[in-house]
Symmetry: C2
Subunit: 324 residues, 2 copies
C-alpha cells in the first residue's frame, strides 16, 4: 500500500481554502484557475516516470515526450481552456544518449506545435535513476467567457446526462500514448453549449465519473451497453476467450472483459461532461461536433455509483482504476 | 560527460523563436514572460532530485520541500515578478513513510505562505526510485510596470556596475537550503530604480554573470576583494589551512579557497543586477534597502570574464560552477 492517496488527501486539506483573492479554482480539479489580473490563467502540471507511465526502451521515444505534454493538454481541455504555454522539466538517466533525449523532446514539441503551445522554459538535470518528465501548462479562458464557463468537476446536477468523447478500454495497448487531447471538442462545446461539469478520464471512467459525482454531491448511473468500446478493447476480449469480470457491492454482476477494461483501466484521456438532458439532445444532434460524443448514463441524486446491465439490472459498484 | 548541456542548447535552438504574439520572453532567461491577455504572467519551473540537489535522510525533510519552492521564487525575484501560484509534482520512493512526505511538503508550504504563493495544483506518484520534486510557479508584473520593467539577462550595458545581494561561498554547508529568495529586494529595486539586467546566482557567480554578459554582448570584470564572503566561506578557508585555487586563462592566479568557493561553487541564490553607475551610487546610498547590496565589478565591452586581484592584476578566467 503506497502512501500516495493518503498524502494527496492530506495536501488538499492543508492547502484548502486557498486565497480566494487570486485562486478561483485550486487543488482537486483537473487544473487550477488563477486570476492574474484582468483575465484568467489556467495552470496544470503532470509528472511522468519510467516504469510508471511508460517503459523506456519499449515505448517509442517520441511518444514518451508526446504523452508528457498530452496528459496536461487533456487537463486544459477538461477546463475548456485554450492552451498557451508549457514549461518542461527533464530528469535524464546519466547513461542516456543525446539522440534519445532529443527524440523524446521532439515528440513533445510536435504536439506543442499542433496545439500552438509555446514551450517557454524548463529545467534539465541528469541523475543515476529513471527518466522523469514534468510538464506544467498554462491556458486562458477566452474573453467572451467568465469563470462560470471554465468548466469544473463540481457542478453536475441530478438529472443531467453524461456524455463522453471517443472510445474506451485497453488504452494501454496504444492509445494512452497516442490519444488526441480533446481541446477542439472542449472549445466547440464551451462556445455553443452550457456544460454543467466536465473532466478528462485519466484514472478510469469509473473513478473519474465518481469524482465528478462526489464533488457535485450526486451519484452516477452508467448504462454498460452504451459505453463506446475501442476496437482494442473488443480485441482484448476475443483474445481472452469471452472472459468476464465480477463486480458489484451488494450483488454480483458478470461483465465482459472489454466492458471491465473500459470502466476500470483508465488512461483513455477522453472528455466526460454532465449536461441538462435538453442540451444533451441538441449536442447529440449537432452535425458540427468535432468528434463522436455518446450518452452513457445520468447523474443521480443518490450518492452511489451504479451500473445498468443488459437485463436492466441496476447494481452498485465500487469505482476502481489504474493505480499509477 | 553527461548530455545535459548539449541537450539544453539543442532544446533552446529547437524552441527559438517562440511565437512573438504570446511569449515576450521564453527559454533561456530565469523565467518566461507570457502575455495571457491584458497583463503579464511570469512562469518558471525547477526540478530537484535526491542525490543531485539534496540527500534524503541527511537533509532535513522540511528543507527539501522549502528548497524546491525557494529556487523557483529566486527565479521570479530575478524577473522582478510578484509570486502568485505554484503547482507541485512529487515522485515519491515507494518505501517513503507518509510522515516524511508530509514534512517535506510542510517546508514547501511554509515558504509558500511566507510569500503568499497559492499552491494551486500538483501531481503525486510513487515509484521504485529516488525522490523527485518539481515546482512550477507563476508571477505577475505589477500593473504600473511594463515588460521593460520585467528584468531580463540581456540588457546589461558596458560601463554598468554589478551589484549583488548577500554573501557568497560554501552555500553547500547550509545556505543552499535556507536562503531567502530575494523577492522583497527585487520588488523594492524594480519600484525605485532602473535596472538594466538581473539574474539569480544558481550555477555560480562566475557562470551566471558570464551568462548575463554573453546575452548582453558584453564582458564582465569582477574585483575579487569586493566579493562579500559568507562566514561559512571564511570558515571553509580556515579549515583548509589557507588553501588556494589556481585560475586564469593566459596567466595563472592563486586565489584563496574562500574566494574560489564564492566564484565557482554556486547555489548562493543571491540577486545580481547590472545598473548605470549613477543609479548604483543612489542604490548603495539608499537606507531603505531591504538587504545588503555590494558592488563587485563592472560590465565591459570586451566579451571576456576578467577578475582583478589584490595587486590590481587583471586576469581572464573560465567561468565554471557546480554541475548538477
Amino acid at each position: 500500500m503506497s502512501i500516495e492517496h493518503e498524502f494527496i488527501d492530506w495536501v488538499k486539506h492543508l492547502c484548502d481554502p486557498v486565497s480566494p483573492k487570486r485562486v478561483l479554482l485550486g487543488i482537486g480539479d483537473d487544473a487550477a484557475v488563477v486570476d492574474h489580473g484582468d483575465h484568467l490563467t489556467v495552470i496544470s502540471t503532470d509528472l511522468l516516470a519510467d516504469q510508471v507511465h511508460f517503459i523506456l526502451g519499449e515505448t517509442p521515444n517520441h511518444l514518451i515526450g508526446r504523452k508528457a505534454l498530452a496528459v496536461n493538454l487533456s487537463d486544459l481541455a477538461a477546463m475548456a481552456a485554450e492552451p498557451v504555454s508549457a514549461v518542461v522539466s527533464l530528469l535524464l538517466p546519466r547513461s542516456m544518449e543525446l539522440e534519445q533525449a532529443q527524440e523524446i523532446f521532439v515528440g513533445l514539441k510536435e504536439l506543442a506545435d499542433q496545439f500552438s503551445v509555446a514551450i517557454v522554459g524548463g529545467d534539465t538535470n541528469c541523475h543515476d535513476g529513471p527518466l522523469v518528465i514534468n510538464c506544467a501548462v498554462t491556458g486562458v479562458v477566452p474573453q467572451d467567457r467568465d469563470v462560470a464557463n471554465t468548466w469544473n468537476m463540481s457542478a453536475a446536477k441530478p438529472g443531467d446526462v453524461v456524455l463522453v468523447s471517443g472510445y474506451f478500454g485497453n488504452s494501454i495497448a496504444a492509445r494512452h500514448l497516442t490519444f488526441e487531447p480533446r481541446i477542439e471538442l472542449a472549445r466547440y462545446l464551451a462556445k455553443n453549449y452550457a456544460i454543467h461539469a466536465a473532466t478528462d478520464i485519466t484514472d478510469s471512467l469509473a473513478i473519474d465519473l465518481a469524482a465528478v459525482a462526489k464533488k457535485s454531491g450526486c451519484g452516477v448511473k452508467v448504462i454498460l451497453a452504451d459505453i463506446p468500446l475501442s476496437e482494442s478493447a473488443k480485441t482484448l476480449e476475443k483474445s481472452r476467450a469471452g472472459a468476464t469480470a465480477t463486480i458489484g457491492v451488494d450483488k454480483e454482476l458478470q461483465i465482459p472483459a472489454s466492458v471491465a477494461s473500459a470502466l476500470f483501466d483508465g488512461e483513455d484521456f477522453e472528455l466526460a461532461v454532465a449536461v441538462d438532458p435538453r442540451v444533451a439532445e441538441k449536442i447529440l444532434a449537432d452535425e458540427q461536433l468535432p468528434c463522436l460524443l455518446t450518452c452513457i448514463g445520468a447523474v443521480t441524486s443518490s450518492p452511489v455509483f451504479e451500473v445498468v446491465d443488459a437485463d436492466e439490472q441496476v447494481v452498485e459498484i465500487f469505482p476502481r482504476g489504474y493505480e499509477h
